[in-house]
């Protein structure tokens, strides 16, 4: 059983290129131990940013990818049956609270609403986590911080944060980086030339134009890196874009044809 968070420490520096003041913002929020909410489209670097900050601040990072079947017990912990009877197992959130780590709940709107309510007492000035089933009131470690991410793109009536949850957080809005910055990120991460990376970013721009006009999201920086890696493996730019960008992004034949043509125009 893990009783420290050493396994969660990040030892190597995760590459991250700041496009604004986000590092200063986050450092300040962590200094004040305020919970942070990261908003932005998928694949724009939210998770990478948290990893980078955890490394920079030398804190262990406990990441939980939320899914729609996730329950409060999955976060807090539960009693398990062992050979000697039942015993308590801390969940990831409890671990971070107990030992002072950064707990990152990725895509928090995916989780069921009752899950988000348990973080309420942690995110105001009480900073406590009541473990009802265990009968323990856990006070947060001074180094503990909660970070959640949230993609407003999927926003629907069914999936949105409660107002009472939203208002507890500082929020940082992530977008796709500026084309120049994004180009250098793609070039560095995929190991391709700047010229090719710029073309990929231009293609991504075309797909982002279609956001709300047939696509839910444009191509993410992550997709571009994938496409770049495929080019480095020997595919042509058009092949790589078809494999890593156009086909994953939509099933609509009209949209695919339009995107293919747009890739063609840039390639």
């Amino acid at each position: 059983m893990t009783q420290t968070l050493d396994a969660w420490r990040i030892t190597e520096q995760p590459a991250y290129q700041a496009s604004n003041d986000e590092i200063a913002y986050y450092t300040a929020a962590y200094g004040a131990r305020l919970p942070v909410m990261l908003k932005g489209p998928t694949g724009c670097g939210k998770t990478r940013f948290v990893e980078h900050m955890a490394w920079k601040l030398r804190r262990p990072l406990v990441t939980v990818s939320c899914h729609e079947d996730m329950t409060a017990s999955d976060l807090v912990g539960r009693y398990l049956l062992g050979p000697e009877g039942t015993h308590w197992q801390d969940g990831p959130l409890t671990l971070a609270v107990r030992f002072g780590g950064i707990c990152y709940l990725d895509e928090v709107v995916e989780a069921r609403q009752d899950t988000t309510v348990i973080i309420h007492a942690l995110t105001d000035d009480r900073r406590i986590l009541p473990l009802e089933k265990k009968g323990e009131l856990l006070t947060a470690h001074p180094d503990f911080q909660l970070v959640i991410s949230y993609n407003p793109g999927y926003q629907s009536v069914l999936k949105d944060l409660k107002e009472s949850t939203k208002q507890r957080f500082c929020a940082m809005d992530f977008g796709y980086p500026d084309p120049a910055v994004e180009g250098s990120i793609v070039a560095a991460q995929a190991g391709i030339s700047d010229g090719l990376a710029r073309k990929l970013v231009q293609i991504a721009g075309k797909s982002r134009n279609l956001r709300g006009h047939g696509l839910n999201e444009g191509a993410s920086t992550r997709m571009l890196i994938h496409a770049g890696r495929l080019v480095a493996e020997g595919l042509t730019l058009r092949q790589a874009c078809s494999l890593a960008v156009v086909t994953p992004i939509t099933d609509d034949p009209d949209m695919r044809a339009a995107l293919d043509a747009a890739v063609d125009a840039c390639a």
Binding site: T71, A72, S73, R78, Y79, L81, G85, T86, K133, V157, L158, Q202, G205, K206, S207, N209, L210, H213, G214, P253, D254, M255, A257, A258, L259, A261, A262, V263, D264, A265, C266, A267
Partner: protein, 741 residues
């Protein structure tokens, strides 16, 4: 044995084509035609045609020509029978035996229903068979007959391809890509490429009926030709090339050029330079566009130096650096353009270079015919969007606006002539107002979509056959909800209780689960006992709560045809539909189940009239009440279209169950459908097509069950008939609860 005399009267080729006994039959058929008084031409052409057909497809097929020819001659004119024969001869060249016989049968069928259409069809038969497969041809003819109905003049116009629908259907049956079939993809392409969402429109044919061959743009709207005959297989690329070019105008163009004193030739040259300028800039940004545009630049460097040819060459030379500018004028254009490459971002250079080149060309006395000039290459727009024409040219035809004013003025003058008339303010003159509103009504609907319809006789589903228009609801009552509560106080209360009960059952506790939020104590204890007793314990010791079990979306269709105006004793049928819909809407709102309400009626297939009372994402509110109370009974009932429309709106709703509920008081009917089975079959087909997609349809039929055919359409278990219509408001919500279980 065939008579020797008969043998002697025919040339050898004929004898070879009709071996043995068939010669006698051929000879007899020929004699019948010759003796029937059709004149000399028919038997003469028959002799040749029959021989040719016999050579290709055998004597039996050739002999069948005789009877069909007589029928054509009797039903129409002998001259047309002769044309029929020569067409048949050319048809037999590319057809096998059964295809040819089917073709003959098709012509016989047409002869029986629409003899006047035989000639125009024969005249176009080569073109038609060239473009359409045999089945497609027969479907195109059937569609034409159905489209025009009993109107012979309209049938004639269809088969002469004078109706725009005829051309459009021909393209569709031929499998050509048209603007309509590509529109969505093109719009996405343009938005992706240029980051602007520009409305794309299908260009209307010009008044002379000539096809539009070039794209055009003006005032932020792009017009594209409805189809691109002669570019079969390449339509998509050509449309894309045109859009990419127009997008370049939007992205890099400046304000419109002033015409000033420019001559038509100078305008054409300036436009050409401007086209090249924006394309060069676009290619700097997106080099791949060269692949899109290049195939359409097919000018040759040499040849006669007419103005259009020189323009095409210059266009290619400016696009393609490797193109040899053999002609001096083209070379000068290229040099001038290259000299300005540093300043390409400035639209003024187009005018400057264009003026210089235009003057040069003017001095060489090359003729330029502005009227016949068409911009080349084919993907480029007509350049009208580049120029600021004097205002008058852009004004819509004035008569349309002025006519009503004129009539009214005339009326006033007449009244003014009467001595005792005193002028009245218009507001005090209700009849006048009513007249003013009535004619505008059919045009104020916004076209929403086109739906297919099933023709049971032809057994085909005709795509885009029915046009759905959306109309605004009439002026409604803002206090509708208050009045509803007054009218149905007890019912509203009862429904609320029902809703509360339904709410309670929403989540379920699940015991003995292998995963869950908490330990199921009972299971844990028995597991522990089993464990201590040395048995294998059951690992399912958790309990959880199920996800919400309700997941249903409903699209409620209200039939508002004229018959729903009938009085029931407790208001009209429509009044009761209205109240029922309102109570259901309230209940579903409280449950949080998505609901849309659409009222529908129809006035022929061109105008299925819908009123969107409530969309899935709109809350129930005053607007819903006003829309409901604004519904008026009118027109007919085209149920199939309503069902298809509801299905289409339900498709993207993310619920497990999807339900179309239809409130109707009669069987389907419409003014343009004399056959009572047609719309029933179509509605049945629509229901089936929704069932396949996981959408259930349920019909609530109002009125006497006699002679109603709803169970035929929806299936026995999907219809509930209410003879006592007054109970409807109460029952509808109950039915919903039953169906949603």
């Amino acid at each position: 044995m065939v008579d020797l005399a008969v043998k002697a009267s025919w040339p050898d080729a004929t004898l070879a084509a009709f071996p043995g006994e068939s010669l006698g039959a051929f000879s007899a058929a020929h004699a019948r035609l010759a003796g029937a008084g059709y004149g000399g031409e028919v038997p003469r052409v028959f002799a040749t045609t029959a021989r040719q057909v016999a050579e290709r497809l055998g004597p039996q097929v050739a002999l069948s020509l005789g009877t069909v020819t007589s029928r054509v001659a009797i039903k129409t004119r002998p001259r047309i029978a002769a044309i029929y024969l020569s067409t048949a001869a050319s048809m037999s060249r590319d057809m096998d035996e059964s295809t040819f016989l089917n073709w003959q049968a098709m012509m016989l069928g047409l002869l029986a229903t629409a003899p006047e259409s035989v000639l125009p069809l024969l005249e176009r038969m080569d073109m038609l068979t060239g473009r359409l497969a045999p089945q497609a041809l027969s479907a195109w003819i059937d569609t034409g007959l159905r489209l025009a109905g009993r109107d012979a003049a309209r049938r004639l116009a269809y088969f002469r391809l004078e109706l725009p629908e005829a051309q459009r259907l021909l393209e569709r049956h031929a499998g050509d890509e048209t603007f309509q079939s590509l529109e969505r993809g093109l719009e996405a392409f343009h938005t992706a490429l240029w980051g602007r969402n520009v409305p794309l429109r299908e260009a209307l044919p010009d008044p002379s009926g000539r096809a539009i061959g070039r794209a055009s743009f003006a005032a932020g709207v792009v017009q594209l030709p409805p189809s691109l005959p002669g570019h079969g297989g390449n339509e998509r690329l050509l449309y894309r090339a045109a859009l990419a070019h127009i997008g370049a105008h939007f992205a890099y163009g400046g304000p419109c050029f002033e015409i000033g004193q420019l001559k038509p030739m100078q305008i054409a040259v300036v436009s050409l330079i401007e086209d090249a300028r924006v394309e060069t800039l676009a290619l700097r940004d997106m080099p791949g566009l060269r692949r899109l545009w290049a195939p359409f630049h097919n000018a040759e460097p040499g040849g006669v130096a007419t103005a259009p040819s020189l323009f095409t060459r210059l266009a290619r030379a400016l696009f393609d650096p490797d193109f040899p500018p053999e002609h001096g004028w083209v070379a000068k254009g290229v040099d001038l353009f290259n000299a300005h490459r540093e300043r390409l971002a400035d639209p003024a250079i187009s005018r400057h270079i264009g003026n210089l080149l235009g003057n040069d060309l003017g001095q060489t006395r090359v003729q330029f015919n502005a009227k016949g000039y068409v911009v080349q290459p084919v993907y480029r727009d007509d350049n009208l969007g580049l120029w600021a024409f004097p205002d008058a040219m852009h004004q819509p035809p004035a008569e349309q606006i002025e006519m009503p004013v004129e009539t009214r003025d005339l009326g006033k003058t007449d009244q003014g002539g009467a001595t005792d008339h005193s002028p009245q303010p218009p507001a005090d003159d209700p009849p006048d107002e009513a007249i003013a509103i009535a004619p505008s009504e059919p045009t104020d609907g916004a076209r929403v979509t086109q739906l297919s319809e099933y023709d049971y006789a032809a057994r085909i589903e005709r795509p885009d056959w029915v046009t759905v228009n959306r109309y605004d609801p009439g002026p409604g009552d803002p206090r509708f909800w208050d009045k509803l509560t007054q009218r149905h106080a007890a019912l509203v209360k009862r429904t609320e209780t029902l809703v509360r009960q339904a709410n309670v059952g929403r989540r379920k506790r699940l015991k003995r689960q292998s995963e869950g939020e908490t330990l199921d104590l009972d299971a844990a204890i028995s597991s522990a006992i089993a464990h201590r007793g040395g048995q294998t314990p059951d690992h399912r010791v958790y309990q959880g709560i199920s996800a919400p079990v309700r997941s249903i979306a409903v699209h409620l269709l209200l039939d508002t045809s004229l018959s729903t105006g009938a009085e029931t004793g407790a208001g009209s049928v429509l009044d009761l539909e209205r109240d029922a819909a309102a109570i259901l809407a309230q209940a579903m709102e409280q449950l949080g189940d998505p609901l849309a309400i659409t009222a529908f009626s129809s006035c022929g297939r061109e105008d299925v009239r819908t009123v969107l009372v409530k969309g899935f994402d709109e809350p129930v509110g005053m607007a819903t009440g006003m829309a409901l109370s604004g519904l008026k009974p009118a027109w007919s009932t085209r149920i199939g279209a309503g069902i298809r429309l509801a299905g289409r709106t339900l498709d993207p709703v993310p619920t497990h169950r999807k339900l179309v509920l239809i409130l109707t008081d009669g069987e389907p009917s419409d003014i343009d459908v004399p056959d009572p089975d047609y719309l029933v079959a179509d509605a049945k087909r629509a229901v089936q097509s929704l069932t396949v997609r996981g959408i259930d349809c349920f019909c609530i039929a109002l009125g006497s069950p006699d002679r109603q055919r709803h169970s035929e359409i929806f299936g026995q278990n999907h219809v509930q008939t209410f003879e006592n219509i007054r109970a409807l408001p109460e029952k509808l919500t109950e039915i919903f609860f039953r169906l949603s279980k």
